[in-house]
Amino acid sequence: MSTNQKVKFAVMYLVSIAAGIIIGIRIFDAVAF
């Protein structure tokens, strides 16, 4: 796996994690409060 591919997948996973945390907080705040 080339360095470009590693960087691409690392960015993909980091974006997923950041988006997941934000979405999770939004859903919780919308439903529980």
Binding site: M1, K6, F9, M12, Y13, V15, S16, I17, A19, G20, I21, I23, G24, I25, I27, F28, V31, A32, F33
Partner: protein
């Protein structure tokens, strides 16, 4: 068809999107689980809602639905993320979600065990749960990372050994074949070179040296040596 079974770029792009969305969904489910657990721990660690019984501690609004929903949706999206990982060839980091889940929930137990919301003493029940969760999450992390490093180094060593074995077998075959036939080590799947032998075997000098060595060692008579040399030069010219 020249492209064989290679997936189309559109298919690859779609699977990348599926991976990002499903992985984000798993993280969102874990976040909801984490916050739902904190809201339950904040009211003593247990609650109930619905049913015909008198409820001592009712659950906060929506917590029951959030807890159940986040677990089931998270598990389904986890399998989808695993499938998409295989389709895209992405590094499989999905196993890290196990330590992530247990360490984050273990932190919740330890936090509320050491700092109870009612301001009382430490809650040993929460602390012991927190320690167990930390071990369940951190144990695989501590054991798996060294194994992954060993596996990567092992694969690198394995490819070096395979390369050396290939070169050794090529040298052996060259030694056992007639001098004007040279076996060249080639990677699997490479196309065989075309054209006369002389154009693709620059090692005629090496063959002559090997022939001379056999003559010096007495393996060949003078006549055999001359004949073989002429044959080699004729075949190589």
């Amino acid at each position: 068809m020249s492209r064989g079974n290679r997936p189309s770029p559109i298919s690859v792009t779609i699977w990348h999107i599926v991976l990002v969305v499903s992985f984000a969904g798993v993280i969102a489910s874990m976040t909801i689980l984490y916050r739902s657990m904190r809201s339950v721990l904040a009211i003593g660690g247990s609650c109930a809602s619905g049913g015909p019984y008198q409820i001592a501690v009712p659950c906060p609004d929506g917590i029951g639905e959030l807890l159940n929903g986040s677990i089931w949706v998270g598990v389904i999206l986890l399998f989808l993320a695993l499938f998409a990982t295989g389709k895209t060839g992405a590094p499989n980091v999905v196993w890290l979600l196990w330590p992530g889940l247990f360490i984050s929930l273990g932190y919740n137990f330890l936090d509320f065990g050491l700092h109870p919301p009612d301001g009382g003493g430490t809650q040993s029940g929460f602390i012991s749960c927190g320690v167990i969760f930390m071990i369940m999450g951190g144990g695989p992390l501590l054991f798996t990372i060294p194994l992954m490093r060993q596996g990567r180094n092992g694969r690198r060593r394995g490819s070096e050994v395979a390369e050396r074995a290939l070169m050794a077998s090529t040298r052996l075959r060259n030694a056992m074949t007639p001098p004007n036939v040279v076996v060249t080590a080639m990677p699997f799947g490479a196309e065989m070179p075309r054209g006369p032998v002389s154009e693709r075997t620059p090692s005629v000098v090496a063959d002559l040296e090997r022939l001379a060595a056999m003559y010096r060692s007495g393996a060949l008579t003078s006549a055999e040596f001359e004949s073989a040399k002429q044959q080699l030069l004729t075949g190589a010219s």
